[in-house]
């Protein structure tokens, strides 16, 4: 599988994503933000961090990196794109995903384990999770408060575009389980076509027991499985 991880100046989780893939048997390539083509890749990952310092607005400047033009083309042609944290912020800034990410409700940066509920498991990203399953994947952000207008929210829900929701330990969607004030406890969404996923939690941080858990593994492995199937049966 050809995986490309885009490295913007200020990205800081690109190596972690790379190491996570390696643990799971894949060797991705690093793509510098100044490259202009992502042709030939099966998956593009926009990693976490603070691209361009996250100055002005998170992801606002990164979106204008030379490589993003081709990432947008790639996504529109059905290529798989995964945006984690800052990557999610970039995806909303460039319009591949709806909404925006605001400062956390209590204004603090938050790094903590987080319960999520998998809402969609028919996607290439999530097929190995059980629908409604509660998993633990840490969050690590200051601006992960998902905002969208009422009409947009309604559309998201009606199309089933919400992939992960913040929940409490018992799997309930409620205020107590919502770390940052996101509307409808949204932690991750997918585009209508199902090929672009953005999520605030960091699956790459939980692929090894020794550093905190393994609930993130299946996200990556789902993608490998989807790719293998595609290879086997054609697109």
């Amino acid at each position: 599988m050809n995986i490309g991880i885009v490295r913007f100046p200020g990205s800081n989780c690109e190596v972690d994503v790379w190491e996570a893939w390696k643990v799971l048997g894949q060797v991705p390539k690093m793509l510098w933000h100044q490259e202009t083509s992502v042709r030939g890749y099966d998956l593009i990952v926009l990693p976490g961090g603070f691209s361009y310092g996250d100055y002005l607005r998170t992801g606002a400047i990164a979106r204008f990196s030379p490589i993003m033009e081709d990432v947008i083309r790639f996504a529109k042609e059905g290529g798989m794109v995964l945006g984690i944290c800052n990557g999610f912020q970039i995806l909303t800034e460039c319009g591949l995903l709806p909404g925006a990410l605001l400062r956390n409700r209590d204004l603090h940066f938050l790094c903590q384990p987080q319960y999520l509920r998998a809402e969609r498991t028919d996607l290439a990203f999530t097929s190995l999770y059980q629908k409604g399953e509660v998993i633990q994947i840490p969050i690590n952000h200051g601006e992960g408060n998902y905002a969208i207008d009422d009409a947009g929210l309604k559309e998201l829900e009606e199309n089933g575009q919400v992939v992960f929701r913040y929940v409490d330990a018992s799997g309930e969607v409620n205020e107590a389980g919502n770390p940052n004030g996101s509307r409808h406890n949204i932690a991750g969404i997918v585009n209508r076509e199902g090929n672009v996923l953005g999520m605030m939690p960091h699956p790459e941080r939980v692929v090894e027991e020794i550093v905190g858990g393994t609930d993130g593994q299946r996200l990556f492995l789902s993608l490998v499985q989807a790719w293998e199937r595609r290879m086997q049966y054609g697109a």
Binding site: L56, R57, A60, I61, F64, T92, E93, P98, G99, A100, L102, R103, N104, R105, D106, L107, N145, A147, I148, D149, G181
Partner: protein
Amino acid sequence: MLKAKVTVTLKKSILDPQGSAVEKALKSMGYPVDEVRIGKYMEVTLPEAARGNATEMMHEICRKLLSNPVIEDYRFELEDKE
């Protein structure tokens, strides 16, 4: 030279956690304030050569980069810079 003074504010419908925090703080300090909303202020200095289409260009800059139309509004004024 020209200076564009840009103000970017959150749309009315968007919650402003920072504003609310400042509002609460001011209230607890005993100041009678009703509401606080927080936005950004930017000064963009333009070269003389840009004077011709400065307004148009600033709209473009604001739409594309300085604000996110999903959540924010912008306005600006142009003035001569000493």
